[in-house]
Each structure stands twice: as C-alpha cells, then as structure tokens.
Point group: C2
Chain length 466, copies 2
C-alpha cells in the first residue's frame, strides 16, 4: 500500500510504501533527501509541521519528528524555534541539475554575493602563470607547506595590513580554499579549545549555522539591527565565539557602528571569546574609506577570514585566515588534516598577481564598475518604485530594499520569478522565518547597468504592492 | 617549583610548574604539544609509558593518562595496543621549521611517496593555462560545480576506464583536493550511513588511522602479509569499511593477490561493506600491465580514490573519488560543505592536459625515468649489500629491503641519518611498533640514479649489519 503526499504542490511528492522497502522512517528520510537533492524542495523552503506531515501520511508524529531530526543531523534541514523546519541553503547544491534548470528560467538574477564574472582578469592570471612557470623550482612541484607558501603568506600579510588595517605577520596566516573552508578549520580549532556554542547573525547566512553545527558546535542566533549585531543580546548568551560580517553585513548590508565594534571587542576580551570576522567584500566601499578590519584592533581575539572570491573570482578557491597567535597552530593542523594544504602553483600565481600591482589595479577598476551598477540600482528604484527605501549600500555589491507593510515578501519573490526576475527575500536569511520587516536583498555585482534597469522596471509594481 | 623531564635526551623537555601557570595536566599537554609542533618529538616517536612519565615528573599516573588521551583526541598522539603511545605522522608537519632543519641535514633522502619533482611538466601546464584562458567563459570564473566540473569528470571517467579498468561515469565522480581530502569526504559520507568501524592496513600509513578517528570512526588494524591484506583477519572484525592499497601496498609494496581480491570483494558484498581503494601510484608498473582497479570489478561496493600527486606533482592538490551510485551524492554533499568545490580553472587546466594526450606522454616518459631508478636501486643493493632481499617492486616508486635478523631497524635509521642518508623503517608504519620483521622502505622516485647508488654504498655495511 502506498500513501502519497503532495501538500506543497504536485512537484513535491513523498511516497511511503508499507511493504518490503525498509521502515517507514527510513523511507520518509530517503524521499525527503531525494526531494531536496533534486531541487523539488528548495533551499530555504519550509516543511510542513511534523503534525501536519504525520496527518497527511497517516503515520505517527514521532516518526516524522525523528526523521526531521535525522535529516537535520545530516545537514539537509534546519529546525529553528518559532519558524519550523526548513531546507538548508547548502542542501540542494551538489546536485545542480535542478538548480541549473531553475536558473535557466531566470533572465535577470539579483542573487547577492556574486562579483562581475565577466571581469575576471584572465590575461593577468595567464601572465602570472607564465611568471611562475619560469621561476618555479622542483621544490615548488612538491607538497606545499600546509599553512600556505611563505611567499603568499607574506604578500597577504602586507596586503591585509595596508588595505584592511590588520595587525599580523606571515606566521599567523593560514592559506585556505575560501571562506567556507576557513571557517570550518577555525571552528575545528575552537572545538579543541573547549568552545561549545557559537553565535551567528540573524538575519545571516544560514550556511553559517550549518557550518557551526557540522563542527559539533551549537549555533546561537543573535539579532542584527540597523547598527549591526546586537551586542547586548550576544552578551546574554553562553556563546564563547561569534561569526560576524562587520564591514558590510550579510544580508542587511549594515556596517557595525564604532560603538558596537567596541562593545563586541570588550565582550570578547571579558569572556575570553573569539570573534570570527567574515571580511568578504570590504575592498569595495563607495562613500568613504573602507572600515578597517576588527582584527587590527584586537589581534589576540579576532580571526579574520578573507578570500579572492569577490575581488577576483570564486573559481580560484583561495583565501586566508588571519589568526590570533594562540589559535594559528591548531588551525594549521586542521588544514593539514583536511587536505594537506592549498594548491602550490595557485598560491604562487596569486602572490605574483598581488605583488605585481595587478591585483590592486583590478580592484580599482572594479570599484568603478560596481559604483556604476550601484548607482543604476538606486536610480532605477527611485524612478520606478520611489516608495521603496534602499539601505545597506555603503560597501560591497548588495543592498536591501525595505518593503511596505502591505507587500508579502514570499509572494513578491514568487511573482517576480514568473517574470523571469530572480529575487531573494530577507526571510531566507532569518532563523525566525518571516518575522521581522520584509525586504529584498538586491545583488548587483554580476548584472550590467541595463539589466539592473530592466529588472527593476519589470517588478516595480510588485515592490510597491500596487 | 619546576620539575624537568628529559628522558628522551636533552632535546625533549617537559617543564611543569607548581605555580599559577594552570593545572599540571594543562601544562603537561601544552608542553607535549609544543614539543611535537617544534619537532623535538618527531612523528612516529614513541612516548614513555604513562607509568614512567608519571614517575619522572612526580605526578599521578591518571594525570598523565588523561593528558595522553586529550592529545590523542586532538590528533597529536596515537595509542595502540601493545605498542604504547606514539606521535602521529601528521602531528608535526604544519610547523615545518623543525622538519626543514632536519631535512637540510639529510643529503640523500629515501623517503617514499615522492615523485620526481624536477620532472613536473611545467611547460605543458603553462600551455594548458593558455588554452584555458583563451576558451574560458565568464561562467568559469564563478563557483565551480561542487562535484567538480563536468569537463574534468568526463575526462577522468574516460581515463579511469581506459587505464584503470574502472566501471564509472562522470555522474559518480567527485573531484577533490588529493587523497587526504577524498578519504575524509568518503568517511564523512560513511558516518552518515551508520558505519562505525573502518579497517586499515597494518603496516600502513598511520595517517589513515588518524583520518578514520577524526571522522568519528574507530580504526581497526588488519595485518598485511606477502599476499596483501589478510582478508580472514578482516572478516573476524566488526568493520563495515576498509581502506586498502591493492595495486601496490603502502609500505610493503606487495600486490594484493587475485585470490585475496576476490575474497575482499566477497566480504564486501556479504557484509554490505565499502572498500576504499587508495589508487595512488598504480600508473607506474614495470614488469606487467598495471593491476586493474578493484572498483572495476565491484562498482557498487568500492570507492576508488586517485590523484595527480604521483603522476604530475603534489603541488596541484587535485584528485578524484570514483564512488558507488549510492554514496556519490553524500560525498558530493560533504565536498560542498568542506570548501564548496575544487578550484575551477585548475580543473579546466587538468582536463586540457589529459584530453590533449600530454598527460599520457608525461606518464610514458616517467615510466622510463622510474624504471631506471628502480634498476639502479636493485643494482646498488646487489652490488653493495647482496645479503639484502628486496621486495615490493612491481609498481610505483618504493620497495622494501628486508633486514637480517641481527640488524636493529631503529638503530639503522639513526646511524644512516648520521651519514646524511634519510631512511624510514617499517616500524613507523606498524600499529604494533617494532613487532614484525625489520625492513626499510626505499623510495626512489625523487632521487637520481647516481644519488641512489651513492646512498646505498654509504649505508651498505649498516644494512647487512656487518
């Protein structure tokens, strides 16, 4: 006998078989996994309550609960108080067939976090490859230093001191494969130091919470308001580490105020806690000088993780961890265990790019490109949807359009998709689901000026709810 | 009051302070960590028993035991029944200052596992970089498919089918950063499937046992004899997965016999177990055709992990996991969580190298180079130390010199080091320490014909114990 469930519409289907196909719990887990992998259940999507699901499938609520818990442990689902259970951001990605199909239908995609891919400095990269091929020795073909090649660590240390106001040397830097790995290695080192709970920003990247959980730690959501992370709320938790985006918060785009920065570092000093700074797009600031890295102020308490994913391109998978002296060896250890070190030739290529001045030149050029796109987004919104308030634009390449009270964020995203415009609501970044003001995160890094204009024109009536 | 301990010679020093410097247990752990990191305690080195250590330091044995356990949990130490507690292979590596200093003193290093670094095909690599830079699109600058780019997965699938007799398609391949990461991702996927114990070869790379433990699993050592892994002994364990090097065992160099291969696969089928095949140097075989991959015989039960670390160079940090269909999605998931995918441009470069025929040409050339070096090792041993029996030379670039009964392996290694010749004894690959016949693992991949000859001449009296 088979029971089918299709409450989320015909595309989501759970089929339980009271026959020889394993226990009902196993079947339910398999069906949900398959639905998530294939993209039928999308990242951020909320599942029905265990009660509703149990009723639909005519099984016990305990069976559904235990299945949800299993998938949560595996990282497919994320349960949050007050907001039910959702598909994690990462869950569907490896099997991209579904995602690619969905992306094909989106003509203008305002997804944040993407730099202008067509500007990747391919010629500079090839030039640096040539330089490396001429100067490399046999030794450079061997296993790289697991901490990263000394050449690159020195260049990165100098860059971070100059551009980000960091307080570090090559000895306290570990080269990694981008932010995700950097955070994973740092969390592994913190576990060994006895840390148990790690605060994360809410709203924030739900991937962070998953990273924390995967490391065997408990993520504690702490609210973000228009001044950045609420440090009073952080103080009220038991967390002894926190992951923050101080220079340009993901997703709200707010900059942590100087008073909050100070309070955060006082908290860290007082609690002997560690601040993990995601320094992801701080190179791009428009109105003023970039906000310096927190790490520069409290080198003993801050781990600052940077990468070239926004400045050059995510394809390179290269980043760095600037660690306090007491954590650097444990992080290097974790890197050795993870993959024995990042690719050596790539590290040589990047260090040539950075020390040759070509990296800086590229950044200067890109600041101009992004400033134009940012201006285009502001102009388009003020022309087509003047009621919309845009915030979080001081740096990076995303901002938040705050929606009028009568506009439903989830409906807006769905209706924009029908017009081939890809939008992300603030809700998918909230632990608490739809509670909190509605808003749309507009990424403009990988969209041309004209695409931005056309995209906003096409959905302006939806934004204003008219 | 300070107690000093220097039982292992003046270079190892534990200093406990009955003052304000934290508990004695914390101090002991810190001192041991520091000794390991700095290289004062070397990988493979055995620590005194907890009883002896406690006596020397005038502390309780329980305190020493709990400190050893803590460092074991952190991966610095490995406790094995019957052989006490040793420093893990990986432990000292990230802080390489000590290692580099030690390496400088070694003039001729027979360390196994290193290909000829001076033969890295730098010109081919640069050619492929040029090809990629001309043909890449903006999309190639973005986040790569976490499973690996489809171009590379297709090329690798075709290569593995052709050269290794594999039975796979691009859909069941995940690109990773070399064997260590590949095994880590596979073990993470097995944990989610309920695996608890993983068998590892003894003697074998002790790194494997550490990898298994780090994944939250229990490593179970299973003996290797001259026919390879003892499958009867494996059958007697509770393990539901095993890591093997069937084509050329590390460190003994034996090839798993066809009867044993069959028995191993029968065990896997019967127990619904998974065989993780480390297919690390099988491209290089001298007397006969390479032994095909186990994966080709039982694609549903074998995970085969390959890399270009031996065929091109470890610097590239690129490898592949050929997975059974039921494991491939979970491994891809683990890869996404670890670092969101391997570098995209590198994957394009490698796929160009492989499909252009330059990779094959390089392998053909290297087979000739290694065959000469292998011959040089055999000739030197038969000329200078004719009593020594050399085994495990059918493939790869290491072999084992079996020592006469009256030669002490540890003393031999130490005395060779005094003559600036680097050797590794079989003991450092044994869970059971020095039990088992004495032998030296001779790597010849990264030594010239003349260095091999001079090295053997310099230590021949030690080898024969004369």
């Amino acid at each position: 006998m088979a029971v089918e469930w299709s409450n989320l519409g015909p595309e989501v289907l759970v089929r339980l078989d009271r026959g020889p196909r394993g226990t009902l719990a196993t079947q339910l887990q398999e069906e949900l996994r398959a639905a998530i992998r294939s993209g039928r259940l999308e990242p951020g999507e909320r599942l029905p309550s265990s009660r509703a699901m149990a009723r639909e499938l005519s099984v016990s609520r305990g069976l559904v609960q235990s299945s949800y818990e299993q998938l949560e442990a595996e990282g497919y689902l994320l349960a949050t108080t007050g907001s039910g259970t959702r598909v994690t951001m990462a869950a569907a990605s490896p099997d991209q067939s579904g995602i690619a199909a969905a992306a094909a239908a989106v003509e203008i995609d305002f997804a944040p976090g993407r730099p202008d891919l067509s500007s990747f400095p391919m010629r500079d990269w090839l030039w640096a490859c040539g330089e490396v091929s001429r100067s490399a020795s046999a030794r450079d073909a061997g296993y790289p230093d697991p901490r990263g090649l000394i050449q690159l660590r020195q260049v990165v240390a100098a860059y971070a001191r100059r551009v980000r106001g960091s307080d570090t040397t090559a000895d306290h830097i570990v080269i990694c494969n981008g932010f995700t790995q950097g955070a994973g290695l740092t969390l592994a080192a913190l576990v060994a130091q006895g840390v148990r709970q790690v605060a994360v920003e809410d709203p924030g990247h739900l991937d962070m919470a998953e990273l924390v959980r995967r490391a065997g730690l408990e993520p504690i959501p702490v609210p973000v308001d228009r001044n950045g992370l609420d440090v009073d709320a952080l103080r009220a938790t038991e967390a002894s580490a926190v992951i923050v985006t101080p220079a340009h918060q993901t997703p709200t785009g707010v900059v942590l105020t100087s008073r909050r920065r100070q309070a955060l570092l006082e908290w860290a000093a007082h609690r002997q806690a560690v601040v993990i700074e995601d320094d992801y797009d701080s190179e791009f600031r428009y109105d003023k000088k970039p906000v310096g890295s927190l790490q520069g102020v409290a080198a003993g308490r801050v781990v600052s993780i940077g990468s070239v994913s926004k400045s050059l391109g995510p394809t390179l998978r290269l980043g760095w961890i600037i660690a306090p002296p007491h954590l650097a060896p444990a992080i290097a250890q974790a890197k050795y265990r993870a993959d024995r070190g990042s690719p050596g030739l790539d590290q040589l290529v990047l260090s040539r790019l950075m020390e040759s001045g070509r990296f800086d030149r590229h950044l200067r050029r890109m600041r101009g490109v992004y400033a134009q796109r940012r201006r285009s987004l502001m102009l388009a919104l003020s022309a087509y949807a003047p009621a919309i308030d845009l915030t979080g634009m001081a740096a990076g390449f995303h901002a938040v359009a705050n929606l009028p009270d009568h506009v439903n964020e989830i409906q807006l995203v769905a209706m924009a998709a029908e017009r081939s415009v890809g939008l992300q609501g603030l809700g998918r970044y909230r632990f608490n689901g739809s509670s909190g003001p509605a808003g749309i995160v507009f990424g403009f890094g990988d969209l041309t000026v004209s695409a931005i204009d056309r995209g906003i024109a096409r959905i302006s009536d939806l934004l204003e709810g008219s």
